[in-house]
Amino acid sequence: MMKTYKIVVLGDFGVGKTSLIRRYVLDEFSDQYRATMGVHLYKHTDRIATEGGQSEIRLVVWDIEGAPLPSGQTQRYVVGASAALVVGDLTRADPYSAMWSAADMFEEQLPGRPMAFALNKRDLSDAPSPDVVKRMERRYDGPVFETSAMNGEGVLHAFHSLGKSILARNL
């Protein structure tokens, strides 16, 4: 049987985790905020460009209840994840603190697993400061994407980069 990989999506509440996943999996968007309680699972099969051409990858994307600081429950949700997408909201006064906390927790639970970062709601906000982006990339060795679940910008790139890392490392 073909392996199915688990990807978790982490970050503060309201930053757009659900919206990004729904844009990725279902290609849809709603401007209504419906808070996620617990976790919602999205099964998705995708094709990803790899070194040797196209590869199929089977995913279960975990849409996890948001919080400014990861809780014990969040830790239980990341068990067995192959990769994480950490999401922040560019329209916030401080989009980054909650991202650092989530990334630190994931790194501690699953050292060395690939991470990517989505600076979301780019349609509503100016570009992030290149300094913060560089710091984030260096500290966690993961790419940073400017995304908009609203218009789709950067969304496929963010998920595909995780897919690629997973396949490359054969996690």
């Binding site: 309201g14 808070a35 919602h40 192959s82 916030r92 006064a93």
Partner: protein, 372 residues
């Protein structure tokens, strides 16, 4: 597990009452036994198909500590939210998974989370709005400081001059000096009046109280008059100030006094910009476009501005750098901009450092009484 043992509990009844199932799986995660029928779990299938939350957890299930995943729901809503936990049978060593329906707790909990989050987000938005208001307040404060400074300079000239002239000793001044003081005071008074007028216009335009008195005006005539006034401005000596007419000057339906104000502001800015040059030139013209619209154009060969300085110069509450700041607290462009907009037009400026500056005030075709 169906036989009822007296004094014990029947697990099936418990599981049914709780809406739960217990599933025994082999080490390869195949379902071997299902206790309870609250969920449709088929014997001999891969348990991960029934519970996709287990993908990725294979190693933990086999070798790790017991797992517990609260409030898991599939996106497609085919199953209710469940809590999944694992346990090892101490006697047989068999791996059991328990799946419990948590729909009821889940809905209550979700409402709590929704309320909490929505409140927190609203609060954050309020805080951001407050910060923005504070920032606006700060720019207003710095604007006030700026204006106060502009008021103080001419006031000092007036008070200083008046105090000298009012001293008995002033009879000892020779007539030229008296005239000098008086004309400085006059000039400062005119400057003050101008500043106060500008402030009134600006605040009226902010509150929407600036009304236009529109009538048919002759653009060529207005241009001529304002160029004439411009030549009398203090810095105009030595500056070439020229008007270029178009042959058939269109009549424009506009507030003539405001159009004059627009032109005088632009001309006065342009003259100040070229005052330092020996070959300073300011050209004022009217340009008609094929679509019937028209532009008033004031062009100078002064030092020009960078994009950032221009943005500041156009902003009424911004404080331009000393180099671009002109007399009158830099209100000129802000006022021109608003007056143009009130006419349904626009102020467009093209400039670059070292390339002079061109200001275009654009008026729609609908403002003109002729057809092209």
């Amino acid at each position: 597990m169906s036989d009822f043992s007296p004094g014990g509990i029947n697990p099936e009844i418990v599981l049914t009452a709780m809406r739960a199932v217990a599933i025994r799986v082999s080490e390869d995660l195949t379902v071997r036994e299902v206790s309870g029928d609250a969920f449709d779990v088929q014997i001999e299938t891969d348990v991960r198909e029934a519970i996709p939350a287990l993908y990725g957890m294979e190693d933990v299930l086999r070798d790790g500590p017991p797992i517990s995943i609260p409030f898991v729901q599939l996106n497609d809503d085919t199953t209710p939210p469940v809590t999944v936990s694992s346990a090892r049978d101490k006697l047989t060593g068999a791996l059991w998974l328990v799946l419990r329906d948590v729909s009821e707790e889940s809905e209550v909990q979700r409402q709590l989370v929704q309320n909490h989050n929505a409140l927190a987000l609203a609060e954050a938005e309020l805080r951001a709005a407050r910060d923005a208001a504070l920032a606006a307040d700060r720019t207003k404060t710095s604007f006030l400081a700026n204006v106060s400074h502009e008021l103080r300079t001419p006031l000092h000239v007036i008070i200083g001059g008046a105090s000298i002239l009012s001293k008995p000793r002033s009879t000892a001044l020779d007539p030229d000096e008296v005239v000098g003081y008086a004309s400085d005071m006059h000039e400062s008074g005119v400057l003050l009046l101008q500043l106060v007028d500008d402030l009134i216009d600006l605040s009226r335009s902010e509150t929407g109280d600036l009304t236009l008195y529109e009538e048919w005006c002759d653009l060529n005539e207005i241009v001529d008059k304002m160029v004439g006034l411009g030549r009398e401005l203090p810095d105009a000596a030595g500056v070439i100030l020229e008007a270029k007419h178009i042959m058939k000057a269109p009549r424009v339906f506009a507030d003539g006094r405001r159009i004059k104000q627009i032109l005088l502001n632009l001309i006065s800015n342009a003259i100040k910009a070229v005052a330092q040059r020996s070959d300073g030139e300011v050209r004022v013209s009217v340009d008609r476009h094929d679509d019937g619209s028209a532009c008033l154009i004031v062009q100078d060969n002064g030092p020009g501005m960078s994009e950032e300085d221009l943005a500041i110069a156009r902003e009424p509450f911004g404080q331009p750098r000393a180099a671009v700041r002109s007399k009158g607290a830099g209100l000129g462009l802000a006022i021109v901009d608003r007056l143009a907009k009130l006419h349904g037009g626009a102020l467009i400026i093209t400039t670059e450092p070292g390339q002079g500056l061109r200001a275009f005030v654009h008026f729609d075709a609908t403002r003109f009484g002729d057809k092209i």
